[in-house]
């Protein structure tokens, strides 16, 4: 490998506009010489700013250097110039996979495969991610709140866009109202955030509502979700808060399992 590096370096010195920097940068990267690879890639990009393969190389070097967000921007730029660029789709797919977004990872890997169906490394990556995605689905618990006291009355996990994620809520006459409640909770949350901001209340922690026929407790188990726990009036709001704490822990466990 050292001979290859010497030979390619000599070629670059002889002809600075040579595209051999692509191969040289890749060899250095594979050898763990991230800084040397970065210099080679940046020097090449100065001479070939429109060469998408050079940007792709640079993005992979950035990932090696743990500069993931920068790599994402570079790959997104490549895909704007060349929407079928296989390396960029592989790279973005890898980033999505690392974040646990398996659906998005599969989307990009399938686009990478469409660009060149004969590329074995893409095929292998696609199979590997599909296997992980299937195992996650098969391990997904039916109900994140199974076994909770009065779970059928109302424990609902929703996202901030008003979509139900897990659990259930029963409306009057025992009707399943989780989708309706989820939509309303998104509105309640926006209103709470506006209120907390305008009245300098800081970050909102929880909302308790005591109503005619029941008490309700709303908390954010994480930055992207909301947990709504409803019980009859005979459960005091303090006890409801304790139940909501336990349900929040179960919700976080379930959410983490979705991101693996």
């Amino acid at each position: 490998m050292a001979d290859d590096v010497k030979r390619m370096t000599a070629e670059l010195v002889r002809d600075p506009s040579s595209l051999v920097f692509l191969r040289l940068g890749e060899v250095l990267r594979a050898d763990g010489q991230v800084e040397a690879a970065r210099k080679v890639a940046l020097t090449g990009l100065e001479r070939h700013p429109d060469l998408v393969d050079a940007h792709d190389l640079y993005a992979r070097i950035l990932v090696d250097a743990d500069d993931v967000e920068h790599a994402r921007r570079v790959w997104n730029g490549v895909l704007q110039l060349d929407p079928r660029h296989q390396g960029a789709h592989m790279g973005v797919g890898f980033l999505h996979y690392s974040r646990g977004d398996l659906d998005a990872a599969l989307d990009h890997l399938e686009l990478a495969l469409a660009a060149d169906p004969t590329n074995k490394s893409v095929v292998q990556a696609l199979h590997a991610v599909r296997d992980v995605a299937e195992s996650v689905v098969s391990e997904e618990p039916e109900d994140a709140f199974a076994g909770f006291e009065g779970q059928d009355r109302g424990i609902l996990l929703v996202d901030r866009q008003g979509r139900a994620l897990n659990g259930n809520v029963l409306g009057t006459e025992g009707r399943d109202t989780k989708d309706e409640v989820a939509a309303h909770l998104a509105g309640v949350t926006q209103e709470m955030e506006r209120t907390a901001r305008m009245l300098n209340l800081g970050e909102w922690k929880w909302l308790i509502v005591e109503a005619d026929n029941g008490n309700a407790h709303l908390t954010p188990p994480d930055a992207a979700s909301l947990l709504w726990v409803v019980r009859d009036r005979d459960m005091p709001s303090g006890r409801l808060a304790l139940l909501a704490d336990r349900a929040g822990a179960a919700a976080r466990t379930w959410l983490e399992a979705q991101h693996l």
Binding site: G171, L199, W204, W206, S237
Partner: protein
């Protein structure tokens, strides 16, 4: 503000940690009477509390819990508490985060009964 409302609100603001209390018309979110510390924006509190309780009412109604009677929004730097009275009014308090919520709740309920 009439002396009667002032007396009702003073019982709430006497609770340690309460920054202000007010009576709000629920329909339009306008201030009926207030007793606020300097820096508390009465009009904003009234409008936001009224709007928040309407949104919360949609969620509680859909959840089979009916109409809100008491609401407590806890923030890291403060809290907003409100009780619904008859005649479409709200009694609202803005408080420090460490306020005795149980005591404020009781005073709000008493105030709502007195206003009724």
């Amino acid at each position: 503000m009439s002396g009667r409302f002032q007396g009702i609100l003073d019982t709430i603001t006497r609770v340690r940690g309460v920054r202000g209390a007010m009576i709000v018309a629920c329909n339009d979110g306008l201030v009926v009477a207030d007793s606020l510390m300097e820096g508390v924006r009465g009009n904003a509190v009234a409008a936001l509390a009224s709007s928040l309780i309407k949104h919360a009412a949609n969620a509680t109604a859909a959840s089979g819990a009916g109409a809100p009677q008491f609401l407590h929004l806890q923030g890291s730097r403060g809290a907003l508490l409100a009780v619904s009275g008859r005649s479409e009014i709200l009694i609202v308090a803005v408080a420090e985060p460490s306020v005795n919520v149980g005591l404020v709740r009781l005073e709000l309920i008493r105030a709502a009964e007195a206003v009724n």
